[in-house]
């Protein structure tokens, strides 16, 4: 079967090298002109446990996992039960397993998938030094239609530091895999690749988030590690110094966010990244950043909740805390990335608006984007470096919190003569003096809100696209489920169901007029998100006027939302 996309799972115990094989396959596919996505799932063992590489290769950019897998390659069956729910198979699927690891477990066989036995271990053993995972790599490449050349090119690039022998061993194993592929019979195969227009990138959402902040001018980061956000910080650590910035590891998240405030007070755009538990600890300081009007960006990569929850799996459960978490009336900016590549653009935008509005910004990403790797088109540079409105001197007394029409007060930075002021978290006058006067509280509260509501965020507030005809149904969604939603809408369109997809990037401040325009002609709305309580649905109800017929589709992680379940709802609503 020739398909526009093929989904492949590679599974094996610790040391089997499924992640290595998966990543080489992904990058090789890219070199061959395809796009792709690779997620990973790991057992509970800290290290050396079982794992699955979850790939989808495609002729077009991939934003979502598919409903089922075409191919499951098992180097061994260790603890496969743990992963089965993440590996939907059908009778159309093909399972390829090493007979050395025993019979196919009944739970796998029950799917009805066709089973092919390939002796990876034996094939590798033919040449000492070569490994079963490389045989599997060659086999899968051959089956799905990736030529040997790009596979070997990527292989050599990743192994060249290990010496000639290692490379030759691996090449031989890959060749053995290619040779063995004929035994597998008919399996899903990729259609022809699109022309290679321009250099593609292989990048994770977390790396992309790091790049975005750097592009926008961030030059300081404070870091406390937490899964699944650590990679953002780990990417920034060696790269920030190359642009004259730096990263400091802190004692905790309370410190990390406050260090960012300190740096930003000094005029240096600053970022930190965390996940739910860490965001909880940053809440008080976010309030200070709001009250003192100090821009900072916090990238929150969501994982399963509540509490410690499921650190290695995705969920969209932190919308509430991001939007409403700060005590008092504390308007701020919340932006959600809608895909792996959008992690770059969204963090970049976050820095820009945060600096422009002197307001902390929370970027919501999640494990599914942050820790997955995608092949994306080269993301063009926006060319916009974040800019604050700065104090420019003058004869009068400087009022740090001057009431202005657009709510933005020129900010002075330490070192600027005559701009001296004390930043303040107490209620204050225009000059920043502590005040308990009602008029000051009202005026400063108004101003802090006004700078957000009167700012023109432009079209980036949401990605809006119609799939098929003139839709009267819209899906409103956010974050990483945008991918499956779009795929569902695309499929529904081929079934004659037209759908408008509104993927909201700018969560707060709300954009009621833009939403009203986006909903023109829409009679029914489906809100889709991945959490247990429909946080986005409730948020939309609170702040937007939606058509009377609103349905909500939500459920918790850790399993990803798949296009099919959304498609079914769309059909039912039509």
């Amino acid at each position: 079967m020739v398909q526009n996309s093929v989904s492949i799972a590679l599974t094996g115990s610790g040391g089997a090298g499924v992640m290595t094989a998966g990543q080489i396959l992904l990058d090789a596919a890219a070199q061959a002109g395809f796009y792709g996505l690779m997620g990973r799932s790991l057992g509970p063992q800290i290290r050396g446990g079982e794992s699955v590489a979850l790939l989808r290769l495609s002729t077009a950019p991939v934003q979502s996992a598919d409903d089922t897998f075409d191919l499951l390659v098992a180097f061994d069956w260790g603890n496969i039960e743990r992963f089965l729910a993440e590996l939907p198979l059908t009778p159309a699927s093909v399972v390829i397993a090493d007979p050395a690891t025993g019979a196919v477990p009944a739970s796998v066989a029950a799917s009805g998938a066709r089973v092919v036995m390939v002796p990876f271990t034996n094939l590798a053993a033919n040449r000492p030094g070569s490994r079963p995972n490389m045989v599997g790599l060659g086999l899968v490449a051959a089956l799905v239609g990736i030529p040997a050349d790009p596979v070997l090119a990527i292989l050599h690039r990743s192994l060249h530091r290990k010496g000639v022998e290692a490379m030759e061993n691996a090449s031989a194993a890959v060749a053995a895999g290619f040779a063995a592929s004929t035994a597998a019979g008919e399996t899903a195969r990729l259609a022809s690749a699109t022309a290679q227009g321009h250099a593609r990138w292989s990048i994770t959402g977390n790396e992309a988030a790091g790049v975005g902040t750097l592009r926008a001018g961030v030059r300081f980061a404070a870091a406390y590690p937490i899964t699944p956000a650590t990679e953002i910080l780990e990417w920034l650590a060696p790269n920030l110094p190359k642009v004259g910035g730096n990263l400091v590891q802190t004692e905790d998240e309370l410190s990390a966010v406050v260090m960012c405030i300190g740096a930003s007070y000094g005029g240096i755009p600053a970022v930190t990244a965390t996940s739910g538990p860490g965001l909880s600890l940053m809440i008080e300081a976010l309030g200070l950043a709001i009250a003192s009007e100090t821009p900072i960006v916090v990238v929150n990569v969501m994982r399963g909740g509540p509490s410690t929850g499921i650190p290695t799996k995705s969920e969209q459960g932190d919308l509430n805390i991001a939007v409403y978490g700060v005590h008092g009336d504390a308007p701020h900016i919340v932006i959600a990335a809608t895909s792996i590549s959008d992690c770059l653009h969204t963090t970049e935008w976050a820095v820009q608006v945060s600096e422009a509005l002197q307001c902390p910004t929370i970027v919501l990403s999640d494990q599914a984007m942050g820790q997955a790797r995608a092949i994306i088109d080269h993301p063009p540079a926006s060319g916009i470096v974040a800019k604050r409105r700065l104090f420019e001197g003058g004869s009068e007394t400087y009022n740090r919190y001057a009431i202005t029409e657009d709510g933005i007060s020129p900010m002075s930075l330490p070192g600027m003569v005559a701009g001296e002021y004390t930043a303040e978290g107490l209620a204050h006058s225009e000059g920043g003096m502590p005040s308990t006067k009602a008029e000051h509280q009202q005026a400063q509260s108004d101003k802090r809100l006004r700078k957000l509501t009167s700012y023109d965020f432009g079209d980036r507030w949401a990605d809006i696209e119609d799939f098929g005809g003139t839709p009267t149904t819209a899906v409103i969604t956010w974050g990483s489920v945008t991918g499956p939603v779009r795929e569902a809408a695309m499929r529904a369109a081929t079934e004659g169901v037209a759908t408008r997809v509104i993927a909201v990037r700018l969560i707060t401040p709300v954009q009621p007029e833009r939403m009203a325009a986006a909903l023109a002609g829409i009679k029914r709305v489906l809100v889709v998100e991945q959490n247990h309580s429909g946080q986005f649905y409730r948020f939309l109800r609170a702040f937007y006027d939606l058509p009377a017929a609103v349905q909500a589709l939500y459920r918790p992680g850790p399993l990803p939302m798949r296009p099919h379940e959304i498609q079914v709802r769309l059909k039912a609503m039509a």
């Binding site: 990527i154 750097l214 300190g262 000094g266 300081a285 003096m433």
Partner: protein, 278 residues
């Protein structure tokens, strides 16, 4: 470090703002304010080059009473605030100020980690062994049997922290104690602390006349006795074992290197991004 050169024109009052302190008459913090502005004047640091960072408490109100840059932040977080600023803007003179509650209670973790990190910040703790701002509860330096707080009517029941000892064991490289009733010597410590290229702890005994009126006696209790500053930790611990918590002066000063960023070879963004290109 040109800004650290004394400019003869600067007077202490130039560093003092018009804002009337909220402090009670007689509060020790007035002396600390006086000592601070005098130190800036003595050093002739332009006021736009100084940033005074603070948390929350009576003592943390100090920044707004100066004409320098300042940040009155949240309770307990003054040290990360100051650290972030100093790391991002090494050109500035960064002074952190606050109280014993702010620094040793809620801010205790940042305190020990700031000692360890040794970033070039001068930290003035106005220690009155009480939470002044919230009307008189025990702080970590309050005596075990102080029964005048409604929150701990039988006394806190715990031995007080010895901040200098804690700082030394946490790795601080400049450790001193002053007394707000003797502002001139506090000024001297502040000048030395600012000149010290790492983290400088200056614990200042600063009476709370309202909730700890008996602290008016501090005048009689303070004394010198540390001797010449030592750079030997062993010796510093020895001296601290003899300390009655009222010895003033500079105890310890070492030149262990401070945490600083090492700049890297600059690279264009496009080159950095090459790593993702296939």
């Amino acid at each position: 470090m040109e800004s650290l050169v004394k400019a003869s024109a600067a007077r202490p009052q130039d560093y003092k703002s018009n804002l009337a302190p909220v402090w009670c008459p007689g509060c020790g913090d007035y002396g600390v304010l006086a000592a601070t502005v005098r130190a800036f004047a003595d050093m002739g640091i332009p006021k736009e080059q100084v940033a005074l960072m603070s948390g929350i408490g009576c003592s943390s109100r100090l920044p707004a009473y100066t004409t320098a840059y300042g940040f009155h932040s949240i309770h307990g977080r003054v040290l990360p605030l100051a650290t972030g600023l100093k790391l991002a803007r090494p050109d500035l003179t960064v002074v952190a100020v606050g109280g014993d509650g702010d620094g040793y209670s809620i801010g205790g973790n940042h305190f020990i980690h700031a000692c360890r990190r040794n970033v070039d910040i001068t930290y003035l703790v106005m220690d009155n062994a009480v939470y002044g701002m919230t009307k008189g509860q025990a702080s970590p330096t309050t005596e075990c049997d102080w029964e005048n707080s409604k929150l701990t009517p039988n006394g806190p029941g715990v031995a007080p922290f010895r901040p200098l000892e804690l700082a030394l064991s946490a790795g601080a490289t400049f450790i001193a104690r002053g007394f707000s009733g003797d502002p001139m010597s506090v000024t001297k410590l502040i000048v030395e602390g600012i000149r010290h290229p790492g983290f400088a702890l200056i614990e200042v005994l600063s009476p709370c006349v309202t909730y700890r009126p008996e602290q008016r006696e501090y005048k009689q209790r303070v004394h010198t006795g540390f001797g010449e500053p030592t750079s030997d930790r062993n010796e510093a611990f020895r001296r601290l074992m003899l300390d009655d918590q009222f010895t003033t002066g500079l105890l310890y000063k070492s030149d262990d290197v401070s945490f600083r960023f090492t700049p890297d070879t600059p690279l264009a963004m496009e080159l950095i991004e090459q790593q993702f290109v296939l």
